[in-house]
Amino acid sequence: MPKQPKPPGPPAGKSEPAEPAPPPVEPTEQPPTKQPVPAELTDEPAAEQPSAEQPAAEPAGGDRPPRRRNRGATVLIGALLAMLGFALAVQFRSNSTNDVLAGAREADLVRILDDQNSRIDRLQSQISDLQAARQRLSLNGSNNAAAREEAQRQADALAVLTGAAPAHGPGIRVLISDPQRALRAEELLDVVEELRGAGAEVIQFGPVRIGTSSAFTDSGAGVSLDGTALQSPYEVLAIGDPKTLDTALNIQGGVVNTVHAAGGEINIAEQSVVSITVTRTIPAPRYATPAGK
């Protein structure tokens, strides 16, 4: 406002898209027309429809017509700006929430599609790489698992054979009674050796599990096995082929004959399942260490 005199010239032209010409017209025109019209009247109307409005406003001299017109224009402007605000909000929202593709142009869509396709290719190759890696790893893993399984199997077998683990399976149950205590360590050892020779895998003699370090010793009146005194009748359990074991004990000049000669009784029963639960503790080797690995 304060600069009124100066701006009308230059800025007026740019302010509205309409016309640069009017502003100059207005200042010149206004002085003559008088002053009552303060702001609203301005310039453009002069150019656009000078006759219609100016005259109307002037004679009234008052405010009636201008105000009415003013109100209508204000309402119109308000409506336009409300529409603008509405459109702004809608556009903001649709741009931020909706996918942008719906409004995109064909060329853009083609470019986007190309991008996506090349991205797909990249990801596909990545997928196949990763799948190959996975296959490699799982192959390694299964190899490891197989090795572990094999080792476990061996450990189990060794545990059974060395007496560290309970075992069950087909075998025989032998009862040897020796009322005269005529059987000495040697004869009892023969029983075990005969069974071993016949392929017995696990043997329990009395309360003792036979292992690689088992030893029969004569001790005073009786026999002890690994430090445990044995009492007649001796019960021997052996896991192996029942027929073979039975045959081995009954062999001519074998265990059965020996026991009978000593005045004892021997009773052999083949069993489909012999369960041996006694175990030995295996001492860790003090001197020997596994070699060759």
Binding site: T74, A79, L81, M83, L84, A87, G103
Partner: protein, 110 residues
Amino acid sequence: MIAAIALVIGVVLGIVLRPTVPLWLEPYLPIAVVAALDAVFGGIRARLDGIFVAKVFVVSFVSNVLVAALIVFMGDKLGVGGQLSTAVVVVLGIRIFGNAAAIRRHLFRA
């Protein structure tokens, strides 16, 4: 003042009603909004210059919007819609900047 209130009301309505833009309008709405913004800035500047005329504002507002939409429509039909809408946005953006600079000079004397 009333105009500002109307603008706010319009924004609130747009947010509250959550209308979806019809598909055929989708390419034109952004351009139309920019054109309308140009008209609004021009109107503010004219107001500050003391040469604001409601009728001119209304006419320029409507014609700006229509012409902008028309240009984009033509561009789409001619196969240069993308470039042409960019051009329209650039031109309108320059005008908005110019008007904003004039407004700034008025308000801050700088």
